[in-house]
Symmetry: C2
Subunit: 210 residues, 2 copies
Amino acid sequence: MVKNNIPIETIKRTVTYLRYLEREKQKGVRIISSRNITYLLNIPPAQFRKDLSFFGEFGKRGVGYNVEILITTLKELLGLDKKIKAIVVGAGRLGTALVQYPGFLEINVEIVGAFDNDIRKIGRSIKGIYIYNIKDVKKFIMKNKVKIALLCVPADSAQSVANTLVEAGIKSILNFAPVVLILPEGINIANVDMASEIGSIIYRMKEISQ
Amino acid sequence: MVKNNIPIETIKRTVTYLRYLEREKQKGVRIISSRNITYLLNIPPAQFRKDLSFFGEFGKRGVGYNVEILITTLKELLGLDKKIKAIVVGAGRLGTALVQYPGFLEINVEIVGAFDNDIRKIGRSIKGIYIYNIKDVKKFIMKNKVKIALLCVPADSAQSVANTLVEAGIKSILNFAPVVLILPEGINIANVDMASEIGSIIYRMKEISQ
């Protein structure tokens, strides 16, 4: 049985487990111990078992986990068992890197298009992913039933672009712009700001050295 | 007076304020109200004032903040007043995007080199940043007194590369590899895993729709 209110950090770690298990499966590994899993991932075995316990009962003590079954079950529980379409909005340097980021495919997320307002970019392709005119994003989202957008536009247009995306049916936004988006309830937002992350480690570094 | 134990989220938001203030300064803005600041950033004015209060007293009610002074003071308090050298380790797609990420320069972080073990990449440049042989990373860090590394190598080499970086004098690692690094006390690590972020919003999306 899946428990309610699974901590967000457990979810994130479980995605990491899943990606690791996929790589092991591709190497031909069929049975794996929690010790094996946690050795590479540097997560204590107890943490791994606790994280898994949120999703149900897996494996037997001393026998290990069936890799295939564990992958299938976790994917299903996380909602990653079916291919999910995502778009990248803003085809600058970061957007371009994200289009090609291999980690997304590992969790069944497929980037189906990129969007920009720069006519020098529109019509080009990044590794087979077409860059469309941002003006067509609403039509594209509705037609292709896209639910996820990776928002990589400049700070001062992020909110208005996000509004358009949500109007068209986007349910989740991974926001790379350095602004806090205000969106209707029921829309999921996760913020990734690399400058803030690095700024915070610099501050901690300063604190430690004092 | 700067308070101790400033929450990490306050630090991250303050970096965002700083980047915004820099952009306003470049537009010629000299005085700014907390309402102005929070309007674009979508942060409630009370949150902004509370965040700032951790660092001391700024501005006067009804008068607003002197942009220049606020920038200078916050930079100093955050440890971002002097240029800080950083390197990118792993010059794949993500590493290449990070080398060119404009947000780092805004907070005085300068990428001074990239490193890889792929001989097809070594010797090339990304926007003026040279890609060195990973074998020379230790020498480079010591010679240039680099304190920060952005780690973008594959999962299975992340820990061993991180060990080398720390041995050479790196104090902070922004880790993009999907592993949890184990490093000596006093080393700052911030983890950025895009697949985990997107996995977690997919899970929340699933939860909401049930």
